[in-house]
Symmetry: C2
Subunit: 235 residues, 2 copies
């Protein structure tokens, strides 16, 4: 049961593997927001790549989230702050969502046979899910506009580390080895380790320190969102 | 004087920076071979992307090196083993060269205003060169068929670490921060650290342990190959 890590959506075609479960990761903040949404009772989510598609869902009466460059797109009610999904208004709802990087990563991996959503918030839940599936695993990091980012890599490393050293998975992939070693450096204080990272600073400039701390605190939302057709649902 | 690291030739367009000196890295083994060649008196090298172009140079009487998947291409005299360049036959010669990854990385970066060749063999020489240039720096790792690899990342980390902490360069780039942290883990024993890496194992299967140890031993060839038009020459 081999593991690979694909650092950016751009590289996905090089890693495509029909036998693998794909874990899409956008820690700051799309996959953290999605995980939080399902934990708070959202019924379905529809990831879409463009703001135009999101607008179409809005015009058809859906609740819609749209984020670009860290901020809610004008005219939409929700962005990708997890705190936007912590209220009773979302319960039982179907929400369409588009974000700068996260939904692009889902779009890139759309030919995968199975896609789940990973974040630190559901760390142990995805480890248990992958261990039960007993299939190959491909992590697809959202990165930032197709550049490598640290926080997504750290989550891939955290999951890979546990799968390999506790559950008998293996890897021959340098990006997986690097992710595990970086996670081992960072794990004792993720917030501090990421103090100099590019996206954390981008968000800090938007006064999103509360979001950052929340997204980097493991196991607050033990649910596994999984793609079924065009919908994300709770596994 | 900011530093960025581009992990694969595929990603180069996202990082293109006309103000930067580009350092192309293919530790195992193209840039190690090129560095060794110039240290042993080669006059010029002509990196070409395809075996067909290499063949054309051969038919025009040039000495030509061609490697694919770790082995010398049939019909050529040289591959990318540095040991092939340690003899008097290469002195004063112009050699065309094509390799699986290294010359693809040079090709990807061809719009850069300046390209130099980096390896552990000329580690301190490239640090001194970049420090004297006082320009932005972009490392372009050759990787393996457009996937991330560890050994090229470690060299980028080694150079970036020295430039930032000793010479006043800086970075806001997650791939640079990751490269530096990985180098710090690996630096005390590069050969041991890379024992599980994908390309090292690929080469070990080809009985190239001697090449690996040589390529990972810093500062044996204090020269800086630099692109001038279509030629590599000694700076």
């Amino acid at each position: 049961m081999k593991i690979e890590v694909c650092y950016t959506p751009q590289a996905y075609p090089l890693f495509h593997n029909p036998d693998a479960v794909v874990v899409v990761i956008d820690v700051l903040r799309a996959t953290s927001a999605i995980t939080t949404a399902f934990y708070n009772g959202v019924l379905k989510m529809i990831p879409v790549a463009t703001v135009e598609e999101a607008l179409e869902y809005k015009n058809n009466g859906f609740m819609v989230a749209a984020e670009r460059n860290g901020e809610i797109v004008e005219g939409f009610d929700l962005g990708n702050s997890p705190f936007g999904y912590m209220n009773s208004k979302v319960k039982g709802k179907t929400i369409a969502i588009t974000t700068t990087n996260g939904t692009q990563a889902i779009e890139a991996a759309k030919k995968a046979s199975k896609i789940i959503i990973g974040s630190f918030l559901n760390l142990d839940a995805i480890i248990d899910y992958l261990n039960a599936e007993k299939k190959e695993v491909l992590f697809v990091c959202a990165g930032w506009k197709n550049k490598f980012n640290l926080e997504d890599t750290l989550l891939a490393g955290a999951v890979a580390d546990k799968l390999i050293f506790k559950h008998g998975f293996d890897t021959h992939c340098d990006s997986t080895l690097a992710a595990i070693d970086l996670y081992k450096i960072a794990k004792h204080d993720l917030v501090k380790y990421l103090a100099n990272s590019s996206h954390r600073n981008r968000l800090a400039n938007l006064n999103l320190e509360r979001d950052i701390k929340y997204c980097l605190t493991p196991n607050q939302c033990p649910v596994v969102p999984v793609m079924q057709g065009k919908f994300l649902v709770k596994a």
